[in-house]
């Protein structure tokens, strides 16, 4: 008792201290920003970038050096792990960073939507001539008037190639293909290395290779077979798909064959040891197509020697190497264009190029730096560093991308995952489906039609009329009954007391619902002013139900989760509550033990369970392996090969861990049932089971009903779990595409605010329907007699 008290006192003291510190700390920061300005400098620039901790350090060093040179400018550096979503959210918020990373494939869209600013006027031709010309060209695009301008300065780039573990090649007696190789030679080599490194212990087994298959690098593999995603010259005709061309299918067939038929190439699925980890531990002989960015990490490898080789190709096909390049671009909305352009030039200038070169993270975009020893770094791995320069010059190729390439990537990745990761479809079938889906997507009126602007003026007038009418009706009702002065005072005080909620309701619920309905009738990316929203009528809904396969998928995932989670969690909670209602010694301790897990929620809960679910190093599958082996079964690959049926149950398991939350509610309900009822039942000779059915369940039925309704609504709100798991999974996993995650993607990643609003309304209608069904269905099952005391 005294101990508990001391604990509480100490804790309160510590909490009070932390709270005081937090307010002082946050207050000081606010004070500094609002009152003092950023340490007296007149201009503050914000830069947004992504990248590893090492890359962050480079950017940090560079911006501090810039600040030292420009005492009137302060630079705030933002780093994002989920870069696209962060950048687009900031754009949607109307507070874009002044300077940010721009991928070459985003340039046409960003330029045409006036997101980025032309920078031709800020740079001299002589300076531009220092760069690789094809990289500069990658950031030239048409502005809204149709003039081709330069929209960013490439900070660095990389060609794609393969990393090889020289020791494994040597051990298997395979020659290292420094001068290029064919896919047949590749298949033979990885097969021999895998055979040589075969082991019964899955933790020791060596793989011949790993092949990356995200859309850009997969396209590189396909090029090596003479295929492409799109037709036309250089793959620029996005209406003509070439996914089922012989070259394209041959490439996918090869990847599928080495992964599944030969088993010589590692197939990373779900949450498992990362492919990079396996290479770094010397268990994978070739890794690619990969760019330069892995070099700093690989340089820490001490256990074996490694180097770089070109990608394999098919005899008779001109080999090529996909270039990936990123520029620093200036936001079109920046209030300080001159300063932002100065910073852009500084970040892309020689000091930055040299730092990038020395770190080894990417290839400098300036020719002379790329060809200097700073980049080639003799004496350091990879010895064959000169290959980067050669590939960039001789085989380098920029992949042209349609404006809405993210939607194409989404469709493609889904099918690629099915055939190359899960082996549930042949490449030809998968690609045929992808072609069909892309054609459907383009055929949808939403994507092919042009619409008039939304008549906001008329909408505003109509809204004003409706609001006035509503107020008039309310006023009329209020005036109807004459009230005594006392009653009127009551009236006024009552409304004042509930006014916080009423104001909140109007501002945050009712008003937004109406606006959301209006937005649902438009096509609007928050990147342009609301006035430019197009009026599409009901076409958002048409697209949703007729053309959008992801929508159906997200609905299915959510419903699957609801069907599993709601009954399982409620039954478990009730069962545990019954257990906790036993009068045995030490029950208090058990209640504590059962309840503690439910206080862990959010990101912390998910990060914990991600490590538990890990296929290779996780606890759960290690525990399941032995008992399942008795039945000749294997533990599931929760978020990988078995994700179609097991990803959602895995989340249910996670939810079930927090069973204590529901348990206490039922426990309170159980304690409220008068014991006289049970006595009466016992006198009637009812068994335990009978008592449970005839007394406990009816008495708890209102609680059960409430929990089921709230459970359904909660199931439709699952977001954090799916978002965090997707982040650590790397790949996109459509089996975890919950409704709200899909909604978030459309709103803040793909920037379809109108479309996302339509989805929000559909969500609302679905929940309304479900709640009504549950209300109706429960009419005869819920006993309210205990309530009308």
């Amino acid at each position: 008792m005294t101990f508990a008290r001391a604990f509480r006192v100490l804790l309160s003291l510590a909490a009070a201290l932390v709270v005081v510190w937090a307010f002082v700390d946050a207050g000081a920061r606010l004070w500094q920003r609002v009152v003092m300005g950023a340490d007296g400098r007149s201009v503050t620039l914000t830069v947004l970038h992504w990248g590893s901790p090492e890359e962050s350090d480079i950017v940090e060093d560079l911006v501090r050096a810039f600040e030292a040179e420009n005492p009137d400018i302060a630079v705030q550096r933002l780093h994002a792990t989920d870069y696209d979503a962060k950048l687009k959210t900031m754009l949607a918020a109307g507070t874009p960073p002044d300077l940010f990373y721009l991928r070459y494939d985003d340039t046409p869209e960003f330029a045409s939507k006036r997101v980025v600013m032309p920078v031709d006027d800020a740079v001299e031709q002589a300076w531009l001539d220092l760069f690789f010309p094809q990289l500069i060209d990658a950031f030239r695009s048409a502005d809204p008037q149709g003039n081709v301008r330069l929209f960013g300065i490439p900070k660095d780039f990389t060609p794609m190639l393969m990393y090889v573990n020289l020791d494994l090649f040597e051990a298997a007696g395979v020659d290292v293909p420094y001068d290029g190789w064919t896919w047949d030679e590749y298949r033979d080599a990885v097969g021999r290395i895998a055979e040589h490194g075969a082991s019964d212990d899955p933790a020791e087994r060596v793989y011949g290779g790993l092949l990356k298959t995200w859309p850009l690098v997969l396209r590189n593999i396909i090029w090596q077979f003479g295929g492409d995603y799109f037709g036309g010259t250089d793959g620029r005709d996005y209406a003509e798909l070439r996914l089922t061309d012989p070259g394209t299918v041959a490439a996918l067939d090869m990847v599928r064959a080495v992964r599944f038929d030969d088993g010589s190439v590692y197939n990373a699925t779900g949450i498992s040891e990362s492919e990079d980890d396996l290479f770094r531990r010397g268990r994978i002989a070739t890794a690619g197509p990969l760019g330069r960015w892995v070099v700093p990490r690989y340089r820490k490898i001490e256990e074996f020697r490694w180097d770089v080789v070109p990608l394999p190709h098919v005899e008779g096909v001109e080999p090529s190497s996909a270039l990936a390049t990123v520029a620093w671009a200036v936001s079109a909305q920046t209030p300080h264009p001159a300063e932002a352009k100065r910073l852009m030039k500084f970040l892309c200038g020689e000091p930055g190029q040299l730092m990038t070169a020395e770190l080894g993270l990417a290839m400098p975009s300036m020719k002379h730096v790329a060809e200097s020893d700073a980049f080639l770094s003799p004496g350091q791995q990879p010895e064959n560093a000169e290959l980067f320069v050669r590939l960039a010059a001789e085989q380098g190729r920029l992949a042209p991308q349609p404006n809405n390439y993210q939607e194409f990537d989404r469709i493609l990745s889904r099918e690629v995952q099915k055939t190359l990761q899960l082996d549930s479809k042949t490449p030809r079938d998968a690609m045929a489906t992808a072609e069909q889906d892309w054609a459907d997507e383009r055929a949808s009126p939403l994507k092919s039609q042009s619409y008039p602007l939304m008549p906001w003026g008329k909408v505003g007038v109509a809204a004003a009329v409706v609001i006035a009418a509503l107020l008039a009706v309310l006023y009329w009702f209020a005036r109807r009954e004459p009230l005594s002065p006392l009653a009127r005072a009551q009236q006024r005080a009552g409304w004042l007391f509930v006014s916080p909620w009423v104001i909140g309701f109007v501002l945050l619920v009712a008003g937004p619902m109406v606006i959301s309905l209006l937005l649902a009738l438009t096509k609007w990316s928050a990147m342009v002013p609301l006035g430019q929203a197009e009026f599409v009528g009901l076409d958002n809904f048409v697209h949703l139900f007729k053309y959008d396969k992801q929508f159906g998928q997200s609905l299915w995932v959510t419903v699957y989760y609801t069907i599993l989670a709601v009954p399982i969690v409620q039954v478990a909670a009730l069962a545990v509550a019954l257990l906790m209602n036993q009068s045995v010694k030490g029950i208090g301790l058990f209640r504590t033990a059962y309840f503690v897990p439910s206080v862990v929620t959010g990101v912390a809960l998910v990060t914990l369970w991600i490590t538990i679910f890990n296929n290779d190093t996780g606890m759960l599958n290690a525990l399941l392996r032995y008992p399942l082996e008795l039945f000749g079964l294997e533990p599931p690959d929760w978020f990988g090969t078995n994700s179609r049926w097991f990803a959602v149950p895995a989340l249910v398991l996670m939810t079930l861990w927090g069973v204590g939350g529901g348990m206490v509610i039922y426990l309170a309900g159980l304690k409220g049932i008068p014991s006289s009822l049970y006595e009466a039942a016992r006198i009637d000779g009812a068994s335990h089971w009978r008592q449970f059915l005839a007394v406990t369940v009816p008495m708890l039925s209102p609680l059960i009903f409430f929990n089921v309704v709230m459970g359904i609504i909660g199931s439709f709100q699952v977001f954090t779990q799916a978002y965090v798991i997707r982040g650590s999974n790397g790949a996109q996993n459509e089996d975890l595409l919950f409704y709200v995650l899909n909604l978030y993607d459309h709103a803040f990643r793909f920037h379809n605010m109108g479309y996302a609003s339509a989805m929000a309304w559909v969500l609302f209608l679905i929940l309304l329907g479900l709640t009504l069904i549950v209300f109706r269905g429960s009419k005869n099952m819920v006993h309210y007699e205990g309530l009308k005391a």
Binding site: E273, F477, L496, P500, F595, G727, S728
Partner: protein, 335 residues
């Protein structure tokens, strides 16, 4: 204090399920029709006393076995979390090794550093923590004040449209925030509040239907004489609420505070949408970036960071356990 109020009529009978269900735990229950689900009376079976004893013993053993088994299953993840957070980089990959050879306490300062903490002597710079604390404290304050204010209005005042308003409020309980996410985002963007803590704090000052409902149920049962006395003493409307009602409602305040704390501390989606600058980020955001950046390579640090993030909630639980488990839910839900 509530117990004295049992003979007071609840203000306005709620006929709705949603409203009524939560009071299911109430003690004042008349006899239900226990024989409703069929089965006529049966004569009690005579059983030999020794057999009853044995049955009891078996039952007791079964109960304990289930209790212990379940508790172990639920607590193992905590063990895994703590043990992994103290392992070395290599040890994390070995599942068979239950405990670290030597506990790597250094993982914790390292995890803190990567969550953005810098310390120089007594000056601690840890924006993620201070932001999370500020947001959480203000949200708790806002929820308790506004929800009790509104709950009091609904419970003790008669005004036109009250019951309709109350019904609408209960109905909004079923409306997930995501439905209004986009327009609310546009609203805060219009106010220039994006990348400030305000969008995370201000909505708490408008009250939450469920909490309002709990306060209303509680306030409905406070004896009228008490309010009468206050009024005779000359207390105004607000003074009555502040001096009489709030002090009475300790248990409900505790529940509202605890649930608001837990929700706000762990909230992820709202900060994800509204916060950008590093100095404005919350712990949940930092933990997510941590997972994305180092999660694969440094699982032991990720586990340490998770531990740090969830610690305040676990401590709060142990400090306020009686509100959570013992009578917490019942006090709160019984009303």
């Amino acid at each position: 204090m509530t117990q004295t109020a049992t003979d007071i009529l609840p203000a306005g009978a709620d006929e709705t399920g949603a409203a009524a269900v939560i009071v299911a735990g109430s003690n004042e229950v008349p006899k239900p029709r226990s024989a409703r689900s069929g089965s006529g009376p049966r004569a009690p079976q005579p059983v030999a006393p020794s057999s009853i004893k044995r049955q009891r013993l078996v039952g007791r053993v079964a109960v304990y076995a289930t209790l212990v088994g379940g508790a172990v299953m639920l607590l193992v993840p905590f063990f895994w979390l703590v043990s992994n957070s103290l392992k070395t980089d290599q040890e994390v990959s070995k599942i068979s090794q239950l405990l670290p050879e030597t506990a790597q306490w250094g993982n914790y300062p390292e995890a803190l550093r990567r969550l953005g903490m810098e310390a120089e002597g007594w000056a601690v710079y840890f924006p993620a923590l201070s932001n999370t604390v500020v947001i959480t404290v203000l949200c708790v304050l806002g929820q308790v004040l506004s929800s009790s204010l509104v709950g009091y209005g609904f419970a003790r005042y008669r005004f036109q449209g009250r019951d309709t308003t109350f019904m609408i409020m209960l109905a909004t309980m079923m409306l997930p925030a995501q439905v209004t996410m986009i327009p609310v985002f546009l609203l805060f963007r219009g106010l220039g509040w994006v990348d400030t803590l305000l969008p995370l704090i201000v909505p708490a000052f408008f009250g939450t239907p469920f909490f309002i409902f709990m306060f209303r149920q509680f306030f409905s049962q406070v004896p009228e004489e008490l309010l009468e006395a206050a009024r005779i003493d000359g207390a105004g409307h607000l003074a009555t609420w502040w001096r009489i009602m709030l002090p009475l409602s300790g248990p409900v305040i505790a529940i509202v505070a605890i649930y608001t704390f837990m929700f706000t501390w762990n909230d992820f989606m709202t900060p994800l949408i509204y916060l950008n600058s590093p100095e404005n980020r919350t712990l949940a955001l930092e933990l997510n970036s941590f997972n994305g950046q180092y999660g694969v390579e440094n699982r032991e640090l990720l586990m340490a960071a998770s531990c740090i993030t969830m610690l305040p909630c676990v401590l709060l639980f142990f400090a306020a356990q009686r509100y959570f488990v013992d009578n917490g839910a019942s006090t709160g839900l019984k009303g």
